[in-house]
């Protein structure tokens, strides 16, 4: 019996080793292990074996079966591996052929710059707010300590609808709207479109964007203004950016300043980009004028604050090295695709 089993096993392994296709392996499985297979036949003939030998023979049959199955499996795995390799070999592609893109559109550089600025200030706890683009004289000028007949109100700069209504020339009016709400403290930025009567050229547009910032709280200091804007400059232009504050004048802040950043092209050594100065003027800022606070019913003895205004196009032009402002409003797809 034992020899018979050994013989069957040896025959099976021989046939496996000479099989060259999966279906032939399957034949071997059916011929030896199937219902009518040779090993199965041995099991079926167990009744001819003496009862005391049956467990032993059973064990032998199972051993032979396991061995055949193992060899079969090995052969099958090897064969499948070879087949897969052959298949993959036939599937080689030219990976340098062109990509199939989804042609996702592009954001306007102004928006990219704006979202960057918003991200920085939202991170510092500022709320983004909006105000009307067509504004009343009171909010655009008077409440900002720019009384009637101030040169800044000159008709050459401001588009008027009538004596009382105009296209806002600055986002600063949003400060007033926000303070009038009477909810203190305030930390806000107000991005938006503004208008000035400038003819279109490479550096001027009658319509452009500003981002206004306002912080009102107890104990806000000029040092806080400096610290906040220095942080902003670093976030926007890089960790090594230095800032310089120069005294300036805005009617609605006192003291007022203009902020320069160290040229991010040359690091401040002076280059064509910064006209050899090493510094680039970036924004105007200052401590909110007590008159402005009073007009908004905020007690300047109790509350102080700072405000700033950034030209969005200025940032976009600088950051992305765009040399002509007209490109921003032409919407040529070859321009937009670069952002």
């Amino acid at each position: 019996m034992k020899e018979k089993l050994e013989k069957i096993k040896a025959e099976a392994i021989r046939q496996i080793s000479t099989s060259d296709a999966l279906d032939k392996l399957n034949d071997v499985r059916v011929n030896f292990l199937g219902k009518k297979g040779e090993l199965t036949a041995v099991l079926k003939s167990m009744k001819e074996v003496a009862p005391e030998d049956r467990p032993k023979v059973g064990q032998l049959v199972n051993e032979a079966r396991e061995e055949i199955e193992r060899v079969l499996e090995e052969a099958r795995a090897g064969m499948e591996k070879k087949l897969r390799e052959a298949k993959m070999k036939a599937e080689v592609i030219d990976v340098t052929l062109p990509a199939q893109k989804n042609n996702v559109g592009h954001r306007h550089p102004n928006t990219i710059a704006l979202e960057e600025v918003e991200r920085i200030f939202i991170g510092m706890g500022y709320e983004v707010v909006e105000g009307p683009e067509i504004e009343k004289d009171y909010y655009n000028f008077e409440a900002l300590n720019i009384p009637a007949d101030h040169p800044a109100k000159d008709e050459q700069d401001t588009f008027y609808v009538n004596a009382d209504i105009l296209l806002r020339t600055q986002t600063s009016g949003v400060q007033v709207h926000e303070m009038e709400k009477g909810r203190l403290p305030i930390r806000m930025i107000a991005p938006g479109r503004v208008f000035r009567a400038d003819e279109v050229d490479a550096t001027h547009s009658p319509s452009f964007h500003q981002i206004e910032g306002l912080v009102i709280d107890k104990n806000i200091t000029f040092a806080d203004l400096k610290g906040t804007l220095a942080e902003f400059a670093k976030e926007l232009f890089g960790e090594d950016t230095k800032v310089k504050f120069r005294p300036h004048h805005f009617p609605f802040t006192e003291p007022s300043a203009e902020m320069d950043v160290s040229c991010f092209k040359c690091g401040g050594r002076g280059c064509r980009f910064c006209k050899g100065e090493g510094w680039i003027e970036i924004l105007g800022c200052g401590m909110v004028h007590p008159k402005v606070l009073k007009m908004c019913n905020i007690n300047p003895e109790e509350y102080t604050g700072f405000a700033f205004g950034v030209g969005l196009e200025r940032i976009a032009l600088l950051k992305y090295e765009i040399d002509d402002m007209r490109l921003l409003y032409e919407n040529d797809i070859r321009f937009l695709k670069q952002f």
Binding site: N102, N103, V104, G105, H106, R107, H108, N110, F121, I122, G123, G125, Y126, E127, V128, V129, E130, P132, E133, I134, D149, P151, A152, D154, F159, V161, D164, I165, P185, R187, R193, F195, A197, P206, D217, N219, T221, F222, A223, K226, T228, A230, E231, F245, R246, P247, H248, H249, E254, P255, S256, M287, H289, P290, Y329, E330, N331, D332, I333, L336
Partner: protein, 806 residues
């Protein structure tokens, strides 16, 4: 404002810093220096030469050979200058030296022009004699220079001395940006004061003495001010026996450096005082002043007046006039009249130094359309105390320059001066405000330098009258800050409770709009808010369209930018046209921008500013591509119901058979369609253009970022296909409405999988096929559930005149 640094040094003699140091320090203390120009830039090795001998060039008619004495030796120079004679003293650049420019006065080369010895037509020439243009200047500033030829010194000079110094060109002209609050700094004295404070050097104001000849000015002229609100002070003095001549060289140089062309001693003195004191002055020929009387009063509506530039100006009753006993002789603070213009024959001059209401001058100057140097200063509002000093300074100069004889006394008509402002000195509050720890004594030292007077008894600071900008605590804090140094103030972040930053819902939805548009291949454009009223015609809007009611700009840059848009399409169509014209293929653009709908015309209140999400495209894709973008957007902002589309959109600018209103829960939220071919023609786009406009204010109430997981169906779905023949007029939208209404709770989805018209379908009909899916959340559907729902749907469809196909 430009001044030569030498003029500043005249009042701050200890100022020794270099140009760059001056520029940086002044800028950091608040007097912004825009730039500076060295007048001796590229002028090297230039001395005074005396022409000893002139001979003709043997081989060139237009050249001469000069022997030029340059002190230590005599050199030979060949020149083509036509204006030279023996004995002339001329600026001479020696071999190896450098001049600023060419003799044609064109733009100056950055590094000047190097001069080398050489031969001119065979004759040795060892230098060059210079024209004023070659020295980097012009005849405007050196009127004595010849129109064509070498500059010849009119004053006494010595051969060999520095010719650049002799010409007064060793100087720097500094350009300042003076802020509008510092009217005192529109003057040399004002800037000199700031310079003295910045560099901690003493400031020496000019000593003004102009006693005059002992006669009484009141015998010459009287002044009456009828409107003391508009004219707060009027000072008048008289000078007689006037001798008009060129002003001295030093005065010409200073004026020239400020960009003012020297004219004659009298005009130059008034300009000089305006520069020095920041007080515009006017000079009248007293013999032309009828009755020798000055009356300051308002004009009358409809008056006409000829200013000294020869222009006739229309006046009104808000304009302040300087008049004599009979007539108007000057437009106050703006320009004098032709009828009292100074001529070279003038014998007796009346000087005027007055203070006018700044706002009134500004308005008048605007209304007559004439802005002068004087009005530009007056409109900032001048210090009335300054007028007297200025007029006396002018008289002093008349005496010093030998220009005439000053009559003693001053006619001075004035309203009481505004009291000097007093502000409490609060050092702790200043430090708390600035975030600094500046010692009280340091603050007081700063005030001292600025002539801010501190009274230790009252604890008050008194601002000098010329510092009209110093009004309150914050102004005092600024003075401390800018002289302590902005750069020395620490940098901190605001203390106080932490606040949460946020982007409001509206802006988050707009951000989503950008994202979805871009995923769908659209790039963001930006368009102007104002456009031409012709846009309405281009868009074929009927004359009575409410969209033609606009917010209109009263002073636009031109008609093309005169109305605030009431419809957003023009911007996107113009941008598409630009791209089409430039042969860019497959262009997809979107824009997020406001339209402005007036609540009434004329506009009396804020208009309705409505954010529009506008998409436009040409090239690949069609109506349904655009519709897909709209639905992607709605889905991503949480608008889960199905939008419906009404083909009767009534948009004249869209193809009549390819347009639809977009509705959501019965609210119109926008429209989309193919641009009407005539409109496309108007924009010169020769292809199909598709647009969609979403009215964001209508969308926002439906939008949401809330999401809820509804589970994934566990039980199998059952599908039924139906195929039908329907009249062409029936929209698939109508069919879908029936399916929706009648499918019941178990209706999960329906998909149009075939639509066909043509052969095999009778005329006026189309074949439409749907696959309808049913599913229950809690059980496996029975055949009866499905057939019941289908029956209801089919009954409904029959109501539309639809026949089912087998």
């Amino acid at each position: 404002m430009n001044t030569p640094l030498s003029w500043i040094r005249a009042y701050v003699p200890d100022l020794t810093c270099g140009d760059k140091e001056y520029m940086d320090a002044m800028t950091l203390s608040g007097t912004k220096v825009e730039g500076f120009t060295r007048l001796d830039k590229n002028l090297e090795n230039i001395v005074v030469g005396k022409i000893e001998k002139i001979e003709r060039h043997p081989d060139a008619d237009k050249l001469i050979i000069c022997q030029v004495n340059i002190g230590i030796q005599t050199i030979q120079i060949v020149t083509g200058a036509p204006n030279l004679k023996e004995g002339d003293y001329v600026p001479t650049v020696l071999d190896g030296g450098r001049v600023a420019g060419g003799h044609d006065g064109g733009p100056l080369p950055e590094n000047g022009i190097k001069i080398k010895a050489g031969k001119l037509r065979g004759i040795e020439s060892n230098g060059m004699m210079c024209s004023i243009e070659e020295l980097g200047s012009s005849r405007d500033f050196y009127p004595e220079a010849p129109e064509n030829g070498v500059y010849v010194f009119q004053k006494e000079v010595t051969p060999g001395e520095d010719a650049v110094a002799a010409l007064g060109l060793h100087d720097t002209v500094v350009e300042y940006e003076v802020t509008s609050n510092r009217v005192d700094c529109y003057s040399v004295l004002g800037i000199a004061r700031e310079a003295a404070a910045t560099f901690r050097k003493p400031f020496h104001a000019p000593k003004v003495v102009a006693e005059g000849n002992g006669e009484d000015v009141n015998n010459y002229v009287s002044v009456e001010v009828q409107d003391t609100k508009l004219c707060t002070r009027y000072c008048a003095r008289v000078c007689k026996n006037i001798k008009i001549a060129p002003s001295p060289e030093w005065m010409q140089r200073r004026l020239a450096a400020c960009g003012i062309r020297p004219i004659n001693n009298l005009v130059d003195i008034t300009n000089y005082v305006m520069m020095e004191y920041g007080q515009p002055m006017h000079a009248y020929d007293l013999n032309m002043v009828a009755g020798h009387k000055i009356i300051v009063r308002r004009a009358q509506d409809g008056d006409e007046f000829c200013t000294l530039d020869g222009q006739v100006r229309m006046l009104d009753a808000d304009m302040l006039m300087i008049c004599d006993a009979e007539k108007e002789i000057g437009l106050a603070g703006i320009m004098g009249g032709e009828n009292s213009k100074i001529t070279d024959e003038v014998q007796t001059v009346l000087f005027e130094a007055a203070t006018f209401n700044g706002a009134n001058i500004r308005r008048s100057s605007k209304r007559v359309g004439l802005r002068t140097d004087a009005s530009g200063i007056f409109e900032k509002g001048l210090d009335a105390r300054n007028a007297e000093a200025a007029i006396n300074r002018a008289c002093q100069l008349i005496e010093e320059l030998g220009c005439g004889e000053v009559v003693s006394g001053l006619v001075d008509v004035k309203a009481p001066f505004a009291p000097l402002r007093e502000i409490a000195f609060e050092p702790e509050r200043i430090n708390k405000f600035l975030g600094t720890e500046i010692a009280r004594e340091e603050m007081l030292a700063i005030f001292d330098r600025l002539e801010l007077f501190y009274n230790a008894d009252t604890g008050m600071i008194t601002a000098p009258s010329f510092r009209q900008d110093v009004e309150c605590f914050a102004d005092i804090a600024e003075e401390v800050a800018r002289f302590y140094g902005y750069d020395k103030i620490p940098t901190t972040l605001p203390s106080g409770e932490a606040m949460t930053g946020k982007l409001p819902f509206k802006l988050r939805i707009e951000e989503k709009a950008r994202d979805i548009a871009e995923y769908c291949g659209f790039s963001q454009g930006m368009c102007y808010s104002f456009e031409s009223p012709k846009v309405f015609d281009k868009l074929l809007l009927p004359m009575d369209s409410p969209l033609r009611q606009t917010v209109t700009i009263s002073n636009p840059l031109g008609e093309d930018f005169s109305v605030m848009r009431t419809i957003s399409l023009n911007g996107i169509l113009t941008s598409l046209a630009t791209n089409y014209n430039r042969r860019n293929k497959n262009v997809r653009l979107y824009e997020l921008g406001n339209i402005y709908i007036p609540k009434s015309v004329p506009v009396v209140d804020y208009p309705d500013e409505r954010m529009q999400f506008t998409l436009g495209m040409y090239g690949d894709g069609d109506f349904f591509t655009m519709k897909g973008v709209v639905e992607e957007f709605l889905e991503h902002i949480g608008m889960k119901h199905k939008a419906t589309y009404d083909p009767d959109a009534g948009k004249p600018f869209l193809h009549p058979g390819r347009q639809a209103l977009i509705q959501y829960d019965d609210t119109v939220i926008g429209y989309l369609g193919e641009i009407h071919p005539e409109v496309a023609d108007n924009y010169d786009i020769d292809t199909k253009v598709y647009v969609a406009v979403l009215d964001m204010p209508e969308i926002l109430p439906f939008a949401s970022f809330d999401r809820k997981y509804e589970g994934i169906a566990k039980y199998p779905a059952v599908s039924r296909d139906i195929s039908m023949v329907v009249p062409k007029s029936v929209l698939v939208g109508d069919i879908e409405k029936i399916i929706c209404q009648r499918g019941g709770k178990i209706l999960e989805d329906y998909q149009l999988f075939d639509i066909y018209e043509g052969e095999q379908i009778k005329e006026g009909f189309k074949s439409v096929a749907y696959s309808i899916t049913f599913r229950a959340k809690d059980r496996t559907l029975e055949e009866s559930d499905v057939s019941g729902a289908m029956k209801k749907i089919l009954n409904g469809l029959e109501g539309l005149g639809i026949e089912l196909r087998a």
